[in-house]
Amino acid sequence: MPGPEGAHPDAAVRLEGLTRRRGERLVLSDLTLVVPVGVTVALLGPNGAGKSTLLRVLAGLMRPTAGVCSVLGHALPAGRHALRGRVGYLAHEPMLFRDLTVRENLTHRARLLRVDDIPARVAELLEATGLVRRADFPVHALSRGLTQRTTAAATLLGDPELLLLDEPLANLDPSASGRLGELLGPRPGRTRVIAGHDPEAALAEAQIVLGLRDGAPALLATPDRVTDAEIGALYA
């Protein structure tokens, strides 16, 4: 059972009473969770529930207002520098330079991530995401699906230990969805937190299900214990 009682010294993510405010509004409220290394968490909840905010906090891009937030053994926000390059965050926004080509975007990101053999790694990910033919297209000329593939490739450049994925398969055709699903899938030592709106798919690949509603935890269980009624209540 996930939670504080399942705490492990090498937990990839450890939250205790995590709270995040935006002005007077509580965006995340009293979240407690332990995610062991190598585990996949499905993050569910209606629009505005706080899923994306939680991912941004875990990525070190947003400060928690209160509580404990430890990622890959580093307490945030103080230890956020130690996470750089170890966390891959696939957000709603592509975080790509629109006027540069796919290859230029990936090469620039790889330089900043200190990737060893940049041309080889970029070529490998272009191949894996099916972007070889579009590698020299500027990002503004790509469809949303192709942009999503480029974003996924950029997320994976540094082979991160923790993947934070915000609707990673949105805008993709079935073929690309399968390809990216495999690429972003579980690996030994890879921990994943996946936010999405497809409970069936989420339950199929996760070991922990966290449901948020108005920023507060409304559901925390292993997939085999989650009932249809609980999922229905989450989105009601």
Partner: protein, 227 residues
Amino acid sequence: MTPWLSDVRAVLALEWRRERRAPQVLPTMLLFSVGAFVLFRFGLQDGRVDGPLAAGVLLVTTLLAAVLGIGRLWAAEQDEGGLDAYRLTPASASALVAAKGLALWSFLLVLHAVALPAFVFLLLQDGLDGGAILRVVAGLALTDLGIAAAGALVGAIAAAARSRDLLVPLLAVPLLIPLVAMASEALAPLLTSPAKVTEVRWWVGLALYDGVFLLVSWAVSDGIVED
């Protein structure tokens, strides 16, 4: 090469590549500057200036063009999520701010390579004294460096605050007033015919301003970009 220098080089190269691919900063600054000189040419009664007035017209036009450039320079960081992408990498915030400052400085130098001849042709009463050309160029390079150092700081604050268009002029103009005042004192004697000698204290003042803002930008950039 240290990782810091390597990051600065990577971001600086990116800025120039983006500017070549989809020119935004340079054309904006150039059109504004030349347009302002043309307007001054017809707006001033005799259409010609020299001395302190010439320095003032040149420097205020440069400052306003730079304010436009600063906003454009940080647009991708704000609008395209570039700042978040950068913050997920091990590259330091000070490298980003340094590269943006260098990019702005190089853009301003290119601007002056075009705008200064236009200014001389359109507005300077008796042309530029041949012996003063190098000193005018040095004065403008020092002024541009100060604008770039302060501009990088202002741009970082505005990009992180996500209200760029309002914050850039609000912060940049007051910060750059001392620089414009000193640069005007330094350049006014050189834009007189025949050129006079600038008092050394104005050169020292410009260099000090540049040094202080380079130091401040480097020291506070982590706090601004990260938080």
